[in-house]
Symmetry: D2
Subunit: 138 residues, 4 copies
């Protein structure tokens, strides 16, 4: 993925890499990119005018059922990253969110998570809310 | 994936889930499964008679270029898990390792990582070593 | 602290260091020792014949109100560590648990956590249970 | 510690709590505060006009030899925190940095880390640089 592949309207989160995120290879540990994706998803939700925290209070949740990451280049200590997130697909009871971790205009990693929309109490599937459908960018 | 899909000869690592790995949903945070995969890969390497630490000392490394996880059910605090790992493919300069996180005989999550084999100094690609090829199970 | 300072009867937990725990200095990140301490506390509880998970189900909890770590030497990738834990003090509504992270007979780090004993529902302080008092080693 | 105890001139870092940082008790895991402290120390260094990354390139490092945290109240998912850091003491070959994690004007946790100043190559102690001494606030 190239920087120009990130859709207009994607949410942005800025993030400074601490020592904590690096490993002995001197780069950000591969598992930490899933936390970066989560940070960006949180802000993408906030951009819809409705936070994930509010959605939970209203009784829904979005557990991850699949994750995928392509690692193109390495993020390092003290890098100032921008993490982009956008809703790629949303139909039925599933949402797919794409994320890209960027330094300057270089895409270091990108990938997606697939989420089920569920009722927090009954754990039954719920239809994707309209404000998430409205956020689809591709 | 079902328990019976795990190939005979896969490496096993036992692991007790600490509070640290859980999140406020009461389950293991989705990103931590990639650390579980790494724990299992380390033991899978050790089972070849040649540890990852030794391989690094000999000048090679196996950076992750792709990761994928399917989350089927949730691991919880104090669960005693077994993480299985096996080399699924190994040809040219790439290795694909499959992992499954299991409680009892229930597969909670599974997925794979794809690794490039590289020279640590020159960062040039290297051919997959024979002892890794010999470990392929599928 | 020296190895000989660890009291007879301390609980033991074995642990293999993954890449995930290291940082770019090539050693285990300082914050991860608090997770090591937690792993050891869990096993120390289990050794009393009553796990932390059971204690929670019975309505009590032990939130950490203070932590302290002395870093004496560094743990590294693939080190096989033993983490010792023992109840150092337990009176009134507080418990102090000491932990030591050991490689071979070298104490790499040690320290303590202080916990309040609380009712999970009312969040009121509770007196320290007898089976914890009985576990005091010093 | 109260909000009014934070010295004028302390460095500030803002931080949004992700799910990743929480545990099944619904609050930020106690070990993660040490990562919060690190984030704040990085920015405190940057405020001296000389980043930690630059200091490392110049051949010095500041390994942590002691950490202490007092947990006063809990941070939660999606909280917008401010983490303050200030150099409390700096003499000889040691530096003590105090940090406080704040939500609004409530101090949730605070504590300190003690660092040795060392030469990265020889691992010999170095005297505290003047620009760190000049940053002492108390």
């Amino acid at each position: 993925m190239k920087f120009s592949d990130i859709p207009v309207g994607a949410s942005r989160t800025d993030y400074r890499v601490p020592y904590a995120d690096t490993d002995m290879m001197g780069v950000v540990y591969y598992g930490n990119y899933l936390t970066y994706f989560e940070r960006a998803r949180n802000e993408a939700m906030r951009d819809t005018g409705y936070t994930y925290a509010q959605m939970e209070q209203d009784g829904a949740m979005l557990p991850v059922i699949e994750s995928h990451v392509q690692y193109q280049s390495s993020a390092r200590y003290d890098d100032y990253l921008t993490i982009y997130a956008w809703v790629e697909e949303a139909h039925g009871v599933r949402v797919k969110i794409h994320c890209a971790v960027v330094r300057g205009e270089e895409v270091l990693a990108h990938g997606y998570t697939v989420h089920a929309v569920m009722d927090r109490k009954t754990l039954r599937p719920l239809r994707v809310p309209e404000y998430i459908k409205a956020a689809v960018r591709s």
